[in-house]
């Protein structure tokens, strides 16, 4: 089948490859029954704990970062500087929290008689799917966006490709472009394998155990739930799953802060820009568009809906994350990341806003090594003509052009990205996707739930956007 034909058959191929009839959750237009989808199309927390226990996932240590906390307190007002804890997700089988997502998908695929699984990902998720497939005796294919048109590969992605192959997956490495989706559909059609999409209810529910464990660990050790949890935010799955797990465990007043690396200004489908970023995930190129329009993904309805759960969204720069990665290795003895340290970077600032007796949890780490380490990424950045220098990242950082490594903790800051802006973008995207100006009460109620807003707020945003459009 060729391009047009494959895309024409998209829905049929996807439905067969994920085994979910999404139409039964549809209500009307933009509205669908999200809670019912998460309930009926996935597994309970106890089932998931069992599935993950079988394949060496979860129960990762919650490590207190005493030295980093001490450093933050030295730079905070008296009485400020929350205790910082890090959930060491690198301890999962393939070295990241993505194992939690892969485990449920692969289990489900096996149970339903699929012979193999396919995932389109340039991230740790590929290794997670490949590893889980190996454990469950299944075949796997990982499709990566890996090279620019000069066949120059992003070192972090090349490392992930190596890891996938080491776990026995076939790895298809493509040049830049969203047609990766077309090739993935073609493979699904050819093989009849399960689509281990990051955005099915399985892919999201698998992370609920992470939030659940954090709540249990802090409750058992300190008699209370964490005050704030920082989550690296990309496609929305990490925020959604972690927040749902925390709530499920009873931690309903824990604040959820999403953190992304600021790569605004770089085009995610640009052949030129592709190799001028040192972070391949956890950045604004995913964080902003996926929050504003979750259903842009490879399944009809995205189970990752971060605006339902975010209390706050902040950005950090690449240079600041490299500083943090270095600090974590040098004063805490943990070599992890760097991409997984995105939210840890914001902890320097957010812990300083909080009281000393409060608990701040950074909810992930990832394995590191060749291709991934700051030394590998920054050597590559320099080769690609990106300037790497010491200085003040807040003033000097230019994504794709200048990476500024702070010289002290004082130079680490965060950029507040107002949730209001994302909610307005959400409304804009709905108007664009449905090509309508009028929405029913049911649809407006859904949009309110989907963005944690009041119905009135959505109504006024609709009016605002439609008026802007006319101007």
């Amino acid at each position: 089948m060729m391009y047009e034909e494959i895309l024409k058959n998209k829905n049929k191929i996807i439905q067969k490859a994920v085994g979910i009839d999404y139409s039964k959750f549809e209500i009307e237009g933009v509205a669908f029954d999200y809670d019912r989808m998460m309930r009926e199309a996935s597994y309970t927390i106890d089932e998931m704990k069992q599935i993950q226990f079988e394949t060496q996932i979860g129960n990762t240590p919650l490590v207190e970062l005493k030295n980093l906390t001490k450093l933050v307190r030295k730079h905070s007002k008296k009485g400020k500087g929350a205790r910082i804890f890090l959930k060491d997700e690198a301890a999962n089988s393939s070295g990241s929290f993505k194992d939690r997502r892969a485990s449920i998908s692969v289990y489900h695929a096996k149970k339903n008689g699929y012979k193999g699984v396919i995932a389109a990902t340039s991230g740790n998720y590929g290794a997670a799917v490949a590893s889980q497939a190996a454990k469950r005796g299944m075949r796997s294919i990982i499709v990566q966006e890996a090279f620019d048109s000069h066949h120059v590969g992003q070192p972090e992605i090349l490392e992930k490709g190596r890891a996938c192959e080491a776990y026995g997956a076939e790895v298809v490495q493509l040049t830049v472009g969203p047609e990766l989706f077309y090739y993935t559909l073609k493979l699904l059609d050819e093989t009849g394998y399960f689509n281990a999409s990051l955005y099915t209810p399985f892919g999201i529910a698998g992370i609920e155990t992470l939030g659940y464990e954090i709540a249990e660990q802090t409750k058992n050790r300190f008699g209370k739930f964490p005050d704030t949890v920082l989550v690296t935010h990309a496609g929305g799955g990490n925020v959604t799953g972690t927040a749902r797990g925390l709530r499920l465990a009873g931690a309903t007043s824990t604040k959820i802060v999403g953190v992304s690396v600021d790569l605004r200004g770089l085009h995610m489908a640009s052949d030129h820009d592709f190799n001028r970023k040192s972070f391949t995930t956890g950045h604004t190129g995913f964080g902003i568009p996926f929050a504003a329009y979750p259903d842009r993904v490879d399944v009809p309805r995205n189970a990752a809906r971060s605006l339902r759960y975010l209390d706050r969204y902040v950005l950090v720069s690449q240079g600041e994350v490299f500083f943090t990665t270095e600090a974590l290795a040098q004063v805490e003895g943990m070599m992890r990341g760097p991409a997984g340290n995105t939210s840890l970077t914001a902890a320097f600032v957010i812990a300083a806003e909080m009281d000393e007796d409060q608990i701040l949890v950074v909810q992930e780490t990832e394995y590191t090594g060749a291709g991934k380490l700051p030394s590998a990424q920054l050597t590559f950045a320099k080769q690609m003509g990106v300037i790497v220098k010491n200085g003040d990242p807040v003033k000097e950082d230019v994504p794709g052009k200048v990476i500024v490594i702070p010289e002290s903790i004082d130079q680490i800051d965060i950029i507040e990205y107002p949730l209001e802006n994302m909610k307005k973008s959400y409304v804009k995207e709905v108007i664009k996707a449905y090509n309508r100006k009028v929405f029913s009460d049911t649809e407006i109620k859904f949009m309110a739930d989907d963005t944690r807003s009041q119905v009135k707020e959505i109504e006024s945003k609709l009016e605002e956007v439609l008026t802007d459009g006319k101007a």
Binding site: K74, A146, G168, E170, V172, Q173, T175, E179, S375, V388
Partner: protein, 104 residues
């Protein structure tokens, strides 16, 4: 040359053009639109072949794929990089700061 002819069962990399630039999606930035969508896949040779020839491989998932043979025993090219001067002082500075705290 002995390296040029590879027998069945050798581990190789093939190259495929998935879409010519004229076939690419319409909503792409100009720089991406003007180049083809290409792919590289590793696998075991099904029959003999030379670099630059169209060959058939069996991949790790068991698929059979045809493409141009580009590399034999394809190497992982990524590494740990060079020491980065901009990072090297972070550790010592932070350690100094932590030690100063102990004196207070």
């Amino acid at each position: 040359m002995i390296n040029m002819i590879k027998k069945r069962e050798n581990w190789v990399k093939i190259h495929i053009t998935i879409l010519e630039s004229s076939q690419r999606a319409s909503n792409l930035p100009e720089d991406t639109k003007k180049v083809p969508l290409e792919a590289w896949i590793n696998g075991f040779m099904e029959k003999e072949g030379k670099i630059g020839e169209i060959v058939e491989i069996r991949t790790l998932s068991g698929r059979t794929v045809k493409g141009t043979l580009v590399e034999i025993n394809p190497r992982y090219t990524h590494d740990f990089g060079n020491p980065v001067p901009e990072l090297l002082r972070i550790g010592p500075e932070l350690k100094k700061e932590l030690e100063e705290g102990d004196d207070l």
